[in-house]
């Protein structure tokens, strides 16, 4: 789906990561594989350190910590925004929306549109698309986009396919009106026929959580996980990304009339280092233009990996410069999305730790 937006910009990005840091080496003994084999995979995939919430910490806790920091540092006024979007796959509750919970905990005004979006690794671009659409309303001057997930709480510690990758984090992006002539190009696609490739099978209404859904099972790949846990069909997801995402990016750039070499940075969702290296090779993009170090430092935090890549690698750059960037996300749904925009001269672009 081709979308164009005019007169919108990002004015600040804050990433929030839990202070609790875990390493692949200390967890390796949990997996049902020889250590030497896991160590080889570590080097290729970028398994190293990652951030995980401690017991009981929820998405709203990360979001509230980040928002309070912005208020305290006068980077955002408590009543300065008119809409707050939360993109998450790990809400505090099924009901009510977690964005309403955040609104309440922060004592925000009632004249505020709160909106939860259930999206995963494609969710940064999708959240921005929603923010841009809201800004077409006269009554909405500024939108807060929160991306947050705590999926480590839904991943089996004995599942080497998923557990070493998963990180928890949140980000807060301020979206507002910008120069009228600036065009932002976006494209997104969805394929629900492949929804089972990334799924938490139990815990919803289709398969409620029961004592049986907590039982660890070996699906034949030496990994133990329960139906209550996140399941990722790694091969299917990898092949989906390699087949679909380069086409999406190439089509987006062609529509915008921008050669691949004219884009300053490709800021892709970071599922693992190998996947991003292969994407860069396929697009013939030098790896310095496509950072791939987020999994090794923070883990894969779903829709937060793009803002984390920006704040971790390019904070000073984006506070002081304006660059042509291509964002790309892909994951649960299956969903894949890309956006071409000018990004920069941000009021803030930083990472905060929360307890």
């Amino acid at each position: 789906m081709n979308l164009n937006f005019r007169g919108k910009r990002l004015s600040g990005i804050l990433a929030v990561v839990p202070a609790n840091e875990r390493t692949f080496l200390e967890e390796m003994k949990n997996y049902n594989f020889p250590e030497a084999r896991s160590l080889k995979l570590k080097e290729v995939m970028g398994y190293n350190k990652r951030r995980m919430v401690t017991h009981g910490v929820c998405v709203s806790d990360l979001a509230v910590a980040g928002m309070e920091r912005l208020f305290q540092k006068n980077q955002l006024g408590r009543n300065e925004f008119d809409a707050m979007i939360l993109v998450t796959q790990s809400p505090d509750h099924f009901m009510p929306p977690t964005s309403n919970i955040i609104q309440g905990r922060l004592n925000l005004k009632q004249d505020l549109l709160c909106l939860d979006i259930n999206q995963g690794c494609a969710g940064y671009v999708i959240g921005l698309i929603q923010a841009f659409m809201l800004l077409d309303q006269d009554s909405i001057q500024k939108v807060v986009l929160i991306n947050a997930d705590v999926l480590s709480r839904k991943t089996s510690p004995q599942d080497r396919n998923s557990y070493p990758l998963i990180g928890d984090a949140a980000s807060i992006t301020i979206v507002e009106r910008g120069e009228k002539e600036a065009v932002i190009y976006a494209d997104l696609k969805m394929d629900g026929t492949r929804h089972a490739a990334l799924i938490i099978p139990a815990g919803g209404f289709r398969l409620p959580s029961t004592p049986d859904t907590c039982i660890l099972e070996d699906a034949g790949d030496n990994n133990l996980r329960a139906k209550d846990h996140l399941r990722m069909d790694g091969s299917t997801v990898f092949n989906f990304v390699q087949a679909e995402v380069p086409k999406l990016i190439e089509g987006l750039l062609a529509r915008a009339g921008i050669p691949i070499s004219d884009v300053d940075y490709y800021l892709s969702h970071q599922a693992n280092r190998f996947m991003i290296q292969k994407l860069a090779d396929k697009l013939k993009v030098p790896q310095c233009k496509m950072p791939n170090n987020i999994v090794e430092h923070f883990g894969n935090s779903s829709s937060v990996t793009i803002p984390l890549a920006i704040t971790y690698n390019l904070s000073n750059h984006f506070k002081n410069n304006n660059s042509q960037v291509c964002l790309a996300g892909f994951g649960a749904g299956l969903t894949w999305s890309a956006m071409l925009m000018q990004l920069g001269n941000l009021d803030f672009c930083e990472i905060a730790e929360c307890a």
Partner: protein, 76 residues
């Protein structure tokens, strides 16, 4: 071929890759081993095997791996 066998044996020292025609089906490699193998083949041969070619069919046995390497310009 020799380099490929050395890489495979480094990944799974306990397996005899000459004795199998179906590495994935016989349990010699899983999808993550396949990724480890591709990273090593890329490095040894100075190539980048396309992501769309990283599918089990191309890693079934020594012959299919050799075919893939030839497609990527490797002279064997």
């Amino acid at each position: 071929m020799k380099a490929t066998i050395e890489i495979l044996t480094d990944i799974r020292p306990e397996c005899d890759f000459n004795a199998s025609k179906n590495f994935m089906g016989d349990g010699l490699l899983d999808s993550f081993d396949m990724i480890t193998l591709v990273a090593a083949l890329d490095k040894v041969h100075g190539i980048s095997i396309s992501g769309v070619d990283i599918v089990p069919e191309n890693f079934q046995n020594l012959q299919t791996i050799s075919n893939l390497l030839r497609q990527n310009g490797v002279v064997l």
